[in-house]
């Protein structure tokens, strides 16, 4: 997959998805707001795979759902190939959805257990009236089954008759049915055994090449993300903290959170592990999005935090290494310590 297409397919500007929580006997009182996604901007170029990583609850799925308007954004603008998705009425939205599909994490919950595989995969064809007659409908579904490595004579079976990996293939075949341009994959392999994961990852790579697909690939497994993505976006508590090319992110993470995340991933090689050690500086857990910290959302866990971090939210800005980072350390205007300290510290730890 090359990334020298500068053609932007998906453009997301300042997306916010806030959930209001209700309490009281009849749910009439608003008791709080979860700012699940709080001002997220990014672009996905045609044909590329943008990874979206971050810890549980940081807003990855909600970002994906907000883009598709499967949950209504509170604010922000989503543009697909020049069409303002956020401004569409429901009929126009339904039409536009043909071009963007989703593959879900849970291969057990995502498929309707009462439907035959034929109709699960064929449903998008039905919704978008994409077949001539019954024969054509069946032929298309059979093609799709074959394409994802399943036997077409399995079309009359029900989801419970398949293994986890096979169900995930069915979900992928369904997503492919309407010939979309963008597929949002939400943890497509997390629920699968390692040996089956590889089969599904290879399949996603193959169909991307064959159909020229663009992926927004959500996952928390950073090794999987590195394997499949061209660029990667790191989220923390509803915010984007870093976006950059795959190799730059893994070789030279800039945001203190990204750095901690990288050191937390074990490598399957005991010798490397013995050399590497573990960055113990990251303490505590992800705070609740119901009661997020002031200023930079990461500051309570950050060992570089200084006064500005407690009060001012850092903006996402380009550093001289080409990363986009939201951190005061890299913002000359806001900082009383600077990125040199982080670099030096990393050198000490690596050395």
């Amino acid at each position: 997959m090359s990334t020298n297409h500068n053609d932007v397919l998906l453009d997301v500007q300042d997306l916010k998805v806030h959930f209001k929580l209700h309490g009281g006997l009849f749910g009439q009182k608003q008791t709080g707001t979860v700012k699940a996604v709080d001002g997220v901007s990014f672009q996905v170029r045609r044909g590329e795979t943008l990874g979206l990583v971050g810890e549980s609850g940081c807003g990855k799925s909600t970002t994906g759902l907000g883009v598709l308007r499967m949950v209504e954004p509170t604010a922000g603008k989503v543009t697909l190939d020049g069409i303002d998705i956020t401004a569409l009425n429901s009929a126009a939205l339904r039409k536009a959805r043909r071009r963007m599909q989703m593959v879900y994490q849970d291969p057990f919950g995502a498929l309707d257990p009462r439907m035959r595989v034929l109709d699960i995969i064929g449903e998008p064809l039905l919704i978008h009236k994409m077949f001539k007659d019954k024969k054509d409908y069946k032929a298309q579904v059979h093609d799709l089954l074959e394409r994802v490595g399943l036997n077409p004579n399995m079309a009359d079976r029900y989801p419970h008759q398949f293994s986890g990996g096979q169900r995930q293939r069915i979900g992928i075949a369904r997503a492919l049915a309407a010939r979309p341009e963008l597929i949002i994959c939400d943890e497509p392999v997390s629920a699968l055994d390692v040996s089956i994961q590889a089969q599904v990852i290879n399949l996603l790579e193959d169909i991307q090449e064959e159909f020229g697909l663009t992926y927004l690939f959500i996952a928390h497994d950073l090794a999987v993300v590195r394997h499949i993505c061209d660029r990667i976006m790191v989220m923390y508590l509803g915010h984007v903290v870093e976006v950059t090319d795959r190799d730059a992110l893994y070789e030279n993470p800039q945001h203190p959170y990204t750095q901690a995340l990288m050191s937390a991933i074990p490598i399957p090689d005991p010798e490397e592990e013995a050399k590497r050690g573990f960055d113990r500086s990251l303490q505590g857990e992800v705070p609740s999005p119901l009661n997020p910290p002031s200023g930079c959302p990461f500051h309570p866990r950050c060992r570089f935090a200084h006064d500005a971090c407690k009060t001012q939210k850092p903006r996402l800005m380009e550093t001289d290494t080409g990363h986009q980072v939201a951190c005061h350390l890299y913002d000359p205007a806001a900082s009383d310590i600077n990125a040199g300290d982080v670099m030096e510290d990393n050198l000490v730890r690596a050395g």
């Binding site: 590889a198 089969q199 290879n202 991933i265 573990f278």
Partner: protein, 342 residues
């Protein structure tokens, strides 16, 4: 290289014998359901030495949890039954103990940490109550000293503000904190063996790392032994001294972590290793999945149970089951094939 000797792993080395804390020999556990018999653990033998961490890896359904539960005699019966084998803990025959005696062992000598802390904690009791009860039963003590001990334990597992958290209920803690409280419960009586079954699978990467570091520190500081069940080979590389690779209820490869990662000998282990993307490899490398599906345990393939998925399989593999055979000083495999042969 050493000539491969064909004999069963029979614990012959005298110098390691004295260090052995747990010895499992020929363990076989079955489940009977709807007229079918599932052999979930099929003749498994291994040792856990003092202070070491032994990892058990393998696909879902390969018998990792059933092995662990058999050691503690936590197999629900019916439908399950330990039908054969011996489990010696510090020389004591676990399978021969009375129910009362085994219950005592569970709380004090051997601790089990499960994957999902919410189901193994009592939701209506405070963390402090749940922590202190086993200590009181096994070790005794008055209220004040028990409370102090609980606060101390919570501090050890790095739960912030332990004086207040002892009064909290499980649902008031985050997932990571609950898992740490579970570990604190396990450690209350200074166990000599910790069995951790996917202890961090439900947790975030950074929290996972904190918890595993904590367990590793404990094994180092107190010489506690650990059986770590996980599907994450990275975790194994970072924390395990030795590894059991399980397939269809059997150990197919066994050895030191260094040997197994550097020179995997069983095609299944090779398959596991080449099917995961790795941070230490070029990012474009194509993955090589293990083809096919895990076998039906009530109707295993003939010969080597892995042969239908094995790219090296020969006639002998389809006919004869390979025994666990020593390949070098610290390394055993159950396979007829030499995977290193060009």
């Amino acid at each position: 290289m050493l000539a491969e000797e064909t004999h069963r792993h029979d614990h012959a080395e005298p110098e390691t014998q004295q260090e052995v804390l747990l010895r499992v020999s020929g363990l076989k556990t079955q489940f009977r359901q709807d007229g079918r018999t599932v052999t979930a653990v099929d003749g498994v033998s291994f040792d856990v030495r003092r202070g070491e961490t032994l990892a058990i890896v393998g696909e879902s359904g390969s018998g990792k949890s059933v092995t662990a539960m058999s050691i503690l005699r936590l197999i629900p019966s019916p439908p399950g039954e330990i039908v054969d084998g011996e489990v010696l803990f510090d020389g004591k025959d676990m399978l021969g103990l009375s129910d009362e005696e085994i219950r005592k062992m569970r709380g004090s000598e051997i601790a089990m940490i499960f994957q999902e802390p919410m189901t193994s904690m009592n939701p209506v009791l405070t963390i402090g109550r749940q922590l202190s009860e086993p200590i009181q039963v096994h070790r005794g003590g008055d209220r004040k000293s028990l409370l102090a001990k609980c606060v101390d334990l919570l501090r050890k597992v790095r739960i912030p503000d332990p004086e207040n958290r002892v009064k909290a209920y499980p649902h008031q803690l985050s997932g990571g904190m609950r898992q740490r409280a579970m570990i604190a419960m396990g450690l209350g009586c200074d166990p000599r063996l910790i069995i951790a079954d996917e202890p961090t699978t439900a947790l975030d990467v950074t929290v996972q790392a904190q918890i595993l570091e904590l367990l590793k520190d404990l094994t180092r500081e107190r010489g506690t032994s650990m059986i770590l069940i996980t599907h994450d080979l990275g975790v194994v590389a970072r924390y395990a001294d030795r590894i059991n690779v399980m397939y269809a209820g059997r150990i197919v490869e066994q050895g030191s972590s260094g040997d197994i990662f550097k020179h995997p000998k069983h095609p299944y282990t090779l398959g596991l290793m080449s099917s995961i993307p790795r941070l230490d490899q070029p990012s474009g490398t194509r993955l090589t999945p293990i083809t096919g599906q895990p076998p039906d345990l009530s109707n295993l393939p003939s010969g080597c149970p892995f042969h239908p998925r094995c790219r090296f399989a020969e006639d002998r593999c389809r006919a004869e089951r390979p025994p666990l055979t020593q390949v070098s000083d610290q390394h055993w495999k159950a396979c007829w094939i030499d995977v290193n042969k060009p």
